[in-house]
């Protein structure tokens, strides 16, 4: 049915305002997610929406795409007032959204996911051949080599996000909303996405783009909008503004003090990894981490930089005890924890802030407070029982320490925005008083304000004598937030840098030239 609405109606030429939200408000229980927002998007232009975690970006987008209904306010698409009852209706109007949290069926193949809900048919049956060719074409366009018949569940986060994008593009939208489409994409993949976005805009598609990678977003944007606390606080042409302006409007903070003072003095070795190999859980035939050595000293912040699939997650999960080590040894303060359980490791002060907060970080059925105290619950015991006052005190303190925005410890975790949920996870781990702090992409989908908070926390922990090891895909973070950078590739440490004497280019080079042969590998995969 989308095919009908696709051909750009001649009346709407680039520059015209095609999507308008008037005085939109949204209230979830006690939370005012949006307050009287007036928003508009132009055909053939990219409108970037900025805002802290919880500013209301996703909520606004969900309303525009018919996923949520506004508490008050009205929508106009291509001149007509609309009240979408479902995303499907929005799609029929040409409004398509890529969700912040992935929405795919892990048990279905890439192809089935792309065409889910609007299968191509021949005589009532699904035309698998046609679907497959179409899917291959889409993936070609996104320069992503994935086997279209592989179940999405077996793809890594980045690849899954590409599938989401492919699906959205295949809907041939006239208004395309992208909520954090690049949070799990490698630099190369982002480049491709931007090329595609430009193609779409030149075809007159209106794009709404949300990202916490501010530079990235400014690079692609034509118009800029800033939300704060559910209210629209600033609007401008991208040409007229710079990073400083955006950040100022988001938080009233200047990007330079995003990264804190480092250089706590270096103590003795706290974490030692000797020749560790880890089998890739999704594909046991492949080693995600191969014979890797590293050491982290007390007071030191070490960064694992690498591209998608480099194996950082596997390494960190293996250190945390989630994945079995197929060879090698892990020592904390000289104590061998290679075969210790997760619990024992936490007791010895080795804890991980996982990459995927939804899947590995939070218990959705529990409150903010219960989530925070979960890992450290044993330290509030009076006799055999949990002492509620002690627990409540610790939770309250941590909520303010990590600056979680919530109505209180009793709030269900689902009522927090992505970034605030992430802070809860970090708070949970800090409550276990770790000696070695592992963080996997701690700033994924997090706003500058929260980023700053988190780096400050990391630095403070380091100063307090902790060893900090974190994985990131952002050059800026790698160079500014760490005392030492290890470039990971194919599960091995290929280079080691001192950030003070290293430029982004060096780092790029180190990971890129290592990365270049990769596409060749997967061709056989795709053809299999």
């Amino acid at each position: 049915m989308t095919a009908a609405t696709t051909s750009q109606a001649p009346v709407w030429t680039a520059g015209d305002v095609v999507l308008v939200a008037e005085d939109v408000s949204k209230v979830y229980g006690g939370t005012h997610a949006l307050r009287g927002v007036d928003f508009s998007a132009r055909a053939g232009a990219v409108t970037a929406v900025f805002g802290e975690n919880g500013a209301g970006k996703s909520t606004l987008m969900k309303i525009l795409a018919g996923v949520e209904r506004p508490t008050t306010g009205s929508l106009h698409v291509f001149g007509e007032e609309v009240a979408f009852a479902s995303p499907v209706e929005a799609v029929e109007r040409g409004v398509v959204i890529i969700h912040q949290e992935l929405n795919l069926c892990p048990n279905l193949s890439v192809t089935d996911n792309v065409f889910l809900g609007r299968e191509l048919r021949r005589r009532g049956a699904v035309d698998e051949g046609a679907e497959r060719t179409a899917a291959i074409a889409l993936l070609e366009r996104l320069e992503e080599r994935i086997d279209p018949s592989a179940p999405v569940g077996d793809l890594r986060l980045g690849q899954q996000q590409v599938v989401e994008i492919a699906r959205a593009i295949s809907l041939e939208a006239r208004v395309l909303i992208m909520d954090e489409p690049t949070s799990a994409l490698s630099n190369a993949e982002v480049e491709v996405l931007f090329r595609v976005i430009r193609e779409l805009t030149s075809a007159g598609v209106a794009i709404v783009y949300i990202s916490h990678h501010l530079e990235e977003a400014l690079e692609i944007a034509d118009d800029v909008v800033v939300l704060r606390d559910g209210a629209l606080v600033a609007e401008a042409k991208a040409a007229d503004v710079d990073l400083a302006w955006v950040v100022a409007n988001m938080v009233g903070r200047n990007p330079d003090d995003l990264y804190p003072e480092l250089g706590a003095e270096k103590g003795e070795v706290l974490l030692e990894v000797r020749g560790v190999s880890v089998a890739d859980p999704a594909n046991p035939g492949r080693l995600a981490v191969a014979d890797l050595d590293l050491t982290v000293h007390a007071g030191e912040i070490v960064c694992l930089y690498g591209l998608m699939g480099a194996g950082r997650t596997e390494l960190l999960e293996a250190l945390a005890g989630r994945l079995p080590v197929s060879a090698g040894a892990v020592l904390v303060d000289g104590e061998d924890l290679t075969t210790a359980t997760i619990g024992q490791r936490i007791d010895r002060g080795l804890a991980l802030v996982p990459e995927d907060r939804q899947r590995d970080g939070l218990v959705q059925t529990m409150t903010v407070g219960d989530n925070m105290s979960l890992a450290s619950i044993r330290s509030y015991l009076r006799g055999a029982f949990v002492s509620n006052p002690a627990e409540a005190k610790a939770v309250k303190r941590t909520i303010s320490d990590v600056t979680v925005k919530t109505s209180g410890p009793g709030a269900p975790i689902g009522s927090l925005s992505g970034g605030n949920q992430q802070k809860v996870v970090i708070g949970k781990i800090l409550l276990t008083e770790p000696r070695v702090l592992l963080l996997d992409e701690p700033t994924r989908g997090i706003d500058v304000g929260a980023k700053a908070d988190i780096f400050t926390l990391m630095a403070a922990q380091a100063r307090a004598g902790l060893a900090v090891l974190f994985a990131t895909s952002e050059l800026g973070e790698a160079l500014n937030a760490s005392d030492r950078v290890l470039v990971l590739h194919r599960g091995r440490v290929v280079r080691e840098f001192d950030p003070r004497t290293t430029s982004k280019e060096d780092l790029m080079a180190a990971s890129d030239d290592a990365a270049s042969p990769e596409p060749a590998d997967d061709t056989d995969g795709a053809s299999a």
Partner: protein
């Protein structure tokens, strides 16, 4: 972007082959059972016995097919056993002659009409399940548990607890022929087996070839994503329970026809066998994974087992124990197999390191 490409592994990632692997356990179980009983009883492998046993299997298999769809959506249907009883009773009432008190006349509907009505009744009961689950958001387990009692009670009320005997019908009433369902043969194969085949093919086409099937797997795999993608999740779920009810009603008819009598308590605990069959066949109760072939094999495992035990004269008590053990073992088989696969693959991978890394380390695998 697979650094160490393993074309050999890739196919294992594909949905279809993944399932095939899971079915393997069912096939293994079935093979084991056949071999054992064939060696213990010389009549076990005779053609006529195979046909008899398959006829017994058909009953559970048809239920399992309906149950498979339900389980694919992540639901469960505990009411099928009761629906079996109910549809049999409905058929019984109609074939015995249906008094309409107000007019005091007795209707003797044609057999085809009786069959249709019974099937409709089963489907409607299934629809009620579906509505409770989709509209009123009652958990499938609870909705169908309630229906388990309601449908059974209704069957008892209709028949007033009695059994309807002699459903053969009478020529002068023109309602003969009901027996054909249970005892007739086409090309030497009993009708009930044909019915099983037809249902199996129909459902296979439905879930493998039709969009409905995609929607089914999607609903079971990630309901939210499915509905956001425009999959009519509610409708799919509703249909699935209706089909399950239909299958159960069909079974009710077959049994009533075999016994030429309909008892209200027929079908008690059938649901457990159906669920066991589906799961032994590799389906996941979490939804989104399972196949028709698997469900069928699962049904054969259970059917051949219980018949075989009777043939070799195992004591009833042992029969109960063995049945339980087999259900668990059949499912466990798969675990072992999967682990074996993993560890072997991991070992192979670890070996590859040796070529570039110093051997000393990689040759000391810890906690695999």
């Amino acid at each position: 972007m697979n650094p160490v490409p393993q074309p050999a592994e890739r196919p294992a990632w594909s949905l279809r082959l993944g399932d095939a692997l899971l079915e393997l356990r069912a096939f293994i179980a079935l093979a084991v059972i056949v071999v054992i009983f064939a060696s213990l009883s010389d009549t076990f492998l005779t053609g006529s016995n195979m046909i008899t046993m398959t006829r017994h299997v058909a009953v559970n298999a048809i239920l399992a097919l309906g149950m498979l769809l339900v389980i694919l959506t992540g639901g469960i249907d505990l009411s099928v056993g009761s629906i079996v009883g109910l549809s049999g009773i409905v058929a019984g009432v109609l074939l015995q002659g249906w008094e309409i008190p107000s007019f005091n006349v007795i209707l003797y509907p044609q057999v085809w009409a009786v069959v249709v009505v019974s099937l409709v009744v089963g489907t409607v009961v299934g629809a009620i399940n579906g509505v409770l689950i989709t509209r009123f958001k009652v958990a499938p387990f609870i909705a169908t548990l309630g229906m388990l009692y309601v449908a059974r009670g209704t069957a008892l009320l209709i028949s007033n607890g009695a059994t309807f005997p002699r459903l053969g019908g009478a020529p002068e009433l023109g309602n003969t022929g009901f027996r054909w369902l249970g005892t007739g043969r086409v090309i030497g194969v009993p009708v009930s087996i044909w019915i099983m085949v037809v249902f199996a093919v129909a459902i296979w086409v439905l879930i493998r070839k039709m969009p409905f099937g995609r929607w089914l797997y999607a609903t079971g795999g990630n309901e939210r994503a499915a509905s956001l993608s425009g999959v009519p999740v509610r409708t799919v779920t509703l249909r699935v329970y209706m089909i399950s009810g239909l299958c159960a009603a069909m079974v009710g008819l077959i049994i009533a026809s075999e016994l030429t009598s309909a008892a209200p308590q027929t079908g008690e605990t059938f649901e457990l066998n159906a669920i066991a069959a589906v799961v032994i066949g590799g389906a996941s109760l979490a939804g989104g994974r399972g196949t028709v072939r698997g469900a069928l094999v699962g049904a054969f495992v259970i059917g051949f087992l219980s018949d075989g035990l009777v043939m070799v004269g195992v004591s009833t008590f042992w029969q109960v124990v063995i049945k339980g053990a087999v259900i668990v073992l059949a499912v466990m088989l798969d675990q072992g197999q999967q682990r074996l696969k993993r560890s072997r693959a991991a070992a192979a991978a670890a070996a590859t390191v040796r070529h570039d890394g110093p051997p000393s380390r990689t040759s000391t695998p810890v906690a695999a």
